[in-house]
């Protein structure tokens, strides 16, 4: 067996897929709505909200469609660690680009 749980039948997968697709529809609509709504000044808050919704969407795909949630805990932990590691590295790079002595230009 190459999976830790036996599928009961194709029917249970249909149900799962239906739920996931419906949630994907909702999150996509939410992102579009946020994008066109008048929230805050400029783009920063909007971008943060939209990305947060995208992360939820991603979690659904990874967790259920890639059945990450049914793999051994160790693998899940390692991947979550990688996500935070990557976010940290992005943050570090952005900090590096934004921290420069006063009076000098950055481009």
């Amino acid at each position: 067996m190459s999976e830790s749980e036996k599928p009961v039948s194709l029917q249970s997968y249909f149900r799962l897929c239906g739920v996931v697709f419906f949630v994907v529809l909702c999150t996509t609509s939410a992102m579009i709505a946020t994008s066109f709504a008048h929230i805050g000044d400029g783009w920063t808050l909007k971008v943060a909200l939209i990305l947060a919704i995208a992360v939820v969407n991603a979690f659904l795909v990874a967790g259920f469609l890639m059945h990450l949630l049914s793999e051994k805990k160790l693998i899940f932990t390692v991947l979550i660690f990688t996500v935070f590691f990557f976010a940290g590295l992005m943050g570090l790079t952005m900090w590096a680009m934004s921290d420069f002595p006063t009076g000098t230009a950055i481009h």
Binding site: M1, S2, E3, S4, P7, S9, L10, Y13, F14, C17, V20, F21, V24, L25, T28, M31, I32, T34, S35, F36, W43, K46, V47, I50, L51, I53, A54, N57, A58, V61, A62, L65, M66, E71, K72, L74, I75, L79, T82, F86, L89, M90, T93, M94, M97, S98, I106, H107
Partner: protein, 267 residues
């Protein structure tokens, strides 16, 4: 000695070799697209205020593409589930849907690319800009020799900044019509291809690399859909694993789009 755990799971990791292999590969792909996304962020944050485009991409087409890919992710999972319950016919049906959805996605993407490549921005000698989709070039049009005319469906603006935010009320209110420009008035002319500005550059690179991944994934899935019958008869478990592994790759490609779509189309 045979290589163990090619089909059976290794007890302590709960994985067979190919599944571990594909997850490791996907980790490297996260870093690849992550590198490109970080380039996007830095280019956008570092851009001159007011000079980063908004609303240049068609949200409707993007949404359709998003739903196509989401649906294909579902059919991929169902194809694998069909293999697990040993229903080869259903597997064939589901993956046929996956392939069709993928090809539709690529078709829409090509249309979007084409749209950008026929969208021109012409810098005129008097400092204004003519911007719009190409209607026709006159037969004798030659930019170097300064002969002929070119007709766009668009408008003329005085400040390049007016072309940036197509979501602004001013841009929405702007009237588009037929604009004809003589070659003698043209200072420079270019389409909205990669070299136009850093937004189009990163847009084409990100979506282009993503589209190559979709193409690659489609080819692999097609190969197994078309020629999988013989392995299905001799070793269905191993075939199911191959469908699972290629499915994981496909879901990853969908995951990348889940971030590409909002970042490029919605922000």
């Amino acid at each position: 000695m045979e290589i163990p755990y090619t089909v059976q799971n290794r007890p302590d990791t709960g994985l067979y070799n190919a599944k571990l292999g594909i997850w490791l590969f996907l980790a490297s792909e996260v870093m690849l697209f992550g590198g490109l996304f970080s380039a996007y962020v830095l280019l956008r944050v570092g851009a001159e205020p007011g000079m980063w485009p908004h609303g240049w991409l068609n949200v409707t087409l993007g949404t359709i593409n998003t739903l196509l890919l989401a649906l294909s992710a579902i059919t991929t999972l169902l194809a694998w589930a069909a293999c697990k319950v040993r229903d080869f016919t259903k597997f064939k049906i589901f993956h046929a849907c996956t392939i069709l959805l993928a090809l539709t996605f690529l078709g829409i993407k090509s249309y979007e690319y084409h749209d950008k490549l026929i969208h021109y921005e012409i810098k005129l000698n008097n400092g204004t800009f003519a911007d719009g989709h190409l209607v026709e070039k006159s037969k004798d049009f030659d930019l170097a020799k300064k002969t002929g005319t070119v007709t766009l469906h668009g408008r003329i603006v005085t400040d390049e900044k007016d072309l940036m935010d197509l979501r602004s009320p001013e841009a929405k209110a702007a009237k588009l019509g037929e604009v004809t420009v003589a070659a003698t008035d043209i200072k420079s002319m270019g389409n909205y291809g990669p070299r136009h500005n850093t937004f189009t550059a990163i847009y084409f690179t990100l979506t282009g690399l993503h589209a190559l991944h979709i193409l690659g994934g489609t080819i692999v899935i097609f190969y197994m859909w078309a020629f999988g019958g013989s392995m299905w008869k001799t070793d269905p478990e191993r075939f199911t694993n191959r469908i699972e592994v290629s499915g994981l790759f496909w879901h990853f490609v969908d995951l990348v789009w889940i971030f590409l779509f909002p970042v490029l189309y919605l922000t």
